[in-house]
Symmetry: C2
């Protein structure tokens, strides 16, 4: 299932409104097929893995990160039917599909065909891998990551506005990989007009993965943070600045994940990372974030916080 | 030597102007004496370990974190002489004593007495353990630690001034242990007058280790950061706030170590950790600090940065 989750990450940020699923077929201890949801949402992971395995699917075990779909669509057959037709013996599923067209029906179809089904394998990792799809299903809006790149004292620029560079090349490259995992990047009008940021993926081989650019402003792409819910085919939004835009999303409780890149420098007087987030008192600031991951990137440190 | 360094930490912040030294005597694989510089600077570590070992010192190996002193003082005999008289066979030394009264003379005395001497064992750890004494010897001023307790976005209070509490009880207890390792704590007049901080060590059994309190202001104990050089019997100063006092020490390049306690909260609008530190450009902010240690304290994270 770990390998299937790894495959699912290949198209994170490219499959909305479909989930980014990974699937792997194993027979007699040998991997006979691998698949992941393709850009745009089709083919599905299971269909790709089955096509690769061909006749070797018979009697194999399929590890798949989301319950196989049960509904026939104009874009393709139901994966539960495909698995049954191929003669797969067992299916291990990380997570049930909350989509009402499948929700339990996929498992029922497999079991009706005599397939042995195991559920809940690496479920929490699957939730993290498909956070965009799941947030859209549960909350009707994309999963939002806020990126901040600061000094140790929380500054994002000198008083002059100078901000290049606070973090080093390793941290900046990591931030570009993160961009490639989002359907859209959003900045405020101030950042857009003053920095004219490229907001593209400047990594060899990943240039084509540059996400859609959005500007938050009364006359921009998005007038209000909550309007991200209306975006079509966008399940992951990366908010990249500036301080007022970040604060607007936090004020509306619309940030699910915080990417904090910190350089080992002190700036003192300068521009703060966040504007007013509408905090009434310190007690209400606590219990909202937990450290989910941390690593060094050159001499900078990345911390990833997840919303409780 | 690791055990001797551990002993040397027992009186860090209590021995100025003497170094906090640790010593251990081992004979036939058995520890026969342990010593550390006592509060006020005497007896020395070696004298205490020799007194404990008595006749068992003969033929023993002494592990000592600093070169034994070579000068007789009205307060006691020279440790190099004591080791020779006791018939110690070998002395392992972490670090030479930069004090001109000893600097090499201690080793010469030991060798002249036929003692086998090894130098440089765990030298860098010894430098860290005796940073106060060494900074006083090298720069003529105490070793300065700046403590900051901030939110993830570098805030130390809400706009209202509310600052209790940003960090949790584990981080606050750790900060009290740090107080016990300093001869003096310093705050600015603003912090002194608005918060009336206790600045004492509120940990069971360590209440007597509360350091000297100093207020930085034109009519306070210290009018200018550089005046810490004039303090007698103070080799470690802990700067605890507020933002302008911290900035004043950073502006003068008088901070050797940064203790950064960070709570997993965002504050947004509020008071920043640092005032103007006189930075001309971002390039000059880099290359000054390296991450020396990090650990979790409850849900907070401590980072220790050392000045390059």
């Amino acid at each position: 299932m770990g390998a299937a989750l790894g495959l699912s990450e290949r198209t994170r940020g490219r499959t909305a409104p479909n989930p980014n699923v990974g699937a792997i077929l194993v027979r007699d201890g040998i991997v006979v097929g691998r698949g992941w949801t393709q850009s745009g949402g089709r083919p599905h992971a299971e269909a790709m893995a089955l096509a690769q395995a061909g006749a070797k699917s018979r009697g194999a075990t399929c590890y798949v990160t989301l319950e196989p779909c049960a509904h026939v669509s104009p874009r393709g057959p139901a994966c539960a039917d495909l698995l049954a037709e191929a003669g797969v013996a067992r299916v291990a599923i990380a997570l049930g599909d909350p989509d009402p067209r499948t929700n339990g029906q996929g498992v029922a179809t497999l079991r009706a065909a005599g397939i042995d089904v195991v559920e809940g394998l690496a479920e929490s990792q699957a939730r993290a891998a498909m956070a965009g799809f799941l947030t859209r299903q549960a909350k009707g809006r994309p999963f939002v990551t806020l990126k901040l790149a600061t000094s140790l004292d929380g500054r994002i620029a000198l008083p002059s506005g100078e901000s290049r560079w606070i973090t080093g090349p390793e941290a900046r490259a990591h931030a570009h990989v993160e961009r490639a995992r989002h359907e859209a990047i959003l900045v405020g009008r101030g950042t857009w007009e003053s920095d004219r940021p490229g907001l593209d993926v400047r990594l060899p081989g990943l240039e084509s993965r540059s996400p859609r650019r959005l500007v938050l402003s009364a006359d921009g792409d998005i007038a209000h943070p909550a309007d991200i819910a209306k975006l079509e085919a966008v399940d992951h939004v990366l908010v990249e600045g500036g301080a007022e835009t970040a604060a607007a999303f936090l004020r509306e409780n619309l940030v699910d994940r915080l990417l904090l890149y910190r350089a080992p420098i002190l700036i003192g007087a300068g521009k703060s990372a966040l504007g007013d987030i509408g905090l009434a008192d310190l007690a209400s600031a606590h219990g909202r974030w937990r450290l989910a991951d941390t690593r060094m990137l050159g001499s900078d440190r990345l911390e990833v916080y997840a919303s409780f």
